[in-house]
Symmetry: C2
Subunit: 235 residues, 2 copies
DNA sequence: TGGTATTCGTGTCTTTGTAACACTTAATTG
DNA sequence: CAATTAAGTGTTACAAAGACACGAATACCA
């Protein structure tokens, strides 16, 4: 077979938006860019799609390169394709976002990137169109989490209801009523109460819960309406 | 500036999924592919991203090339990036879907593609991964239309409630209760009742409605819950 | 011209879900 | 053992959703 010989070939990159939750706040993992242009500036973790790998594989590879983690929740968000978004050369960027349990993240030994977790409101200036990407990812995360139980991906295996509520509070930057929140969350049947308590964060201690994994798989795609009045928060 | 000289450059294509509604059924516009491989087989309309245009511009150009239409509703869906999805050469495809008023579509004179509208259930076999793309687009359309008033993009300026309901029936392949449907739709405040009736489709005639464009813009992003029990239809 | 067939358009009731709201309980600390 | 702190829980009012049936308008035909 001959090739599509007359057509222009372009660079295709993958950039990863990596969300984590430290128990109090939603955070974002950023790196110091390792190449020119804008070398050393704050940036999303990215890399070019190689000729033999799928774009999903590229995203997995890049995430692993930075975090050492595999098999975490990851989703393609959007392709950013304005010419001129990278001043050096035209690059089409496929943006993925990942949700990781921040406690599983360990700084990699050979870390040329000097990565750092940032609060959303303390984000530094980012290169190119990366801020736009982050805004799009946050919007998408809010949208998705309003309808699907995706935020559990950010928590450790065992977690408490107050932690879960803090997570929602952080993601939506809004307060939730404790009673309504726990009723709604428990009514999904997705959580299994444990016998032990987390005593770190309060005198009384809060019971741990774990996810019922089979129900989680089944119900992930259902509309669950986690967030009251989504209009108020999402748009 | 030097370029990212060591990296592989790839072909990037845009493929368009074009939905239309003929008053009774949801349809899809397909073409006979104009180049090798698989020349002459049924395919989505597509083309390569040129070096000076954004990916969105490419999508608009390709849609116009086939339909003659500009400024219609169009949205990026997903990037398909498995190596080997095109046997000739690696191509990353950015899939867009468009919603057009089928009555505005006129066959283009110089039409090398022999396009044809298909019912979803009568779709022919498509090349490459195009069927997967169509399935993803349909799922996305159902998802989006359950929450946002996007299906109006498929209707002419003046339309009746029975037509609108037929559209929802077609998109979700499910029956809706007439009374609940009209109550719900009218309660959005998005529709303006006209004085005249459509007498084509019934003896009694059905009143025309038009969209209140300013409210439509405002409320487009709101959660409107157009579809009862979305779980039953969406997954 | 009056009867018949067709589809449009509307209202009520029941059930379910949502949001607002405050007190008791458990455990630690001084 | 008293005080403090955060966890855990229940009720009520209101709104939305879903099930359901009949009268009204018009065209056509006998």
């Amino acid at each position: 077979m001959t090739k599509y010989s007359k057509q222009t070939r372009l660079l295709v990159a993958v950039d990863c938006i990596i969300f984590g939750f430290d128990g109090e706040n939603l955070k974002l993992l950023l790196i110091h860019r390792g190449m020119e242009p804008e070398k050393g500036k704050w940036s999303l973790m990215g890399g070019f799609v190689q000729s033999e790998e799928s774009t999903n594989e590229a995203a997995g590879r890049i995430l692993k390169q930075l975090t050492g983690l595999e098999g975490v929740y990851m989703e393609q968000l959007h392709a950013f394709g304005n010419p001129g978004r990278d001043p050096m050369e035209r690059v089409i960027s496929l943006v993925y976002f990942a949700l990781i349990d921040i406690h599983k993240y360990k700084e990699q030994l050979s870390d040329e990137y000097h990565p750092q977790w940032f609060l959303l409101k303390d984000m530094p200036e980012l290169i190119f169109d990366h801020e736009e990407m982050v805004q799009a990812a946050l919007k998408n995360l809010r949208y998705k989490a309003a309808l699907h139980p995706v935020l559990f991906e950010l928590l450790p295996e065992k977690f408490t209801l107050p932690q879960l509520q803090a997570l929602y509070t952080g993601v939506y930057d809004a307060e939730f009523d404790k009673r309504n929140f726990s009723r709604k969350v428990l009514s999904t049947g997705l959580l299994i109460k444990q016998k032990d308590k987390d005593k770190e964060n309060s005198k009384k201690g809060a019971f741990y819960y774990v996810i019922d994994k089979s129900k989680y798989k089944d119900k992930f795609q259902s509309f669950l309406n986690f967030v009251p009045n989504p209009d108020n928060f999402l748009f």
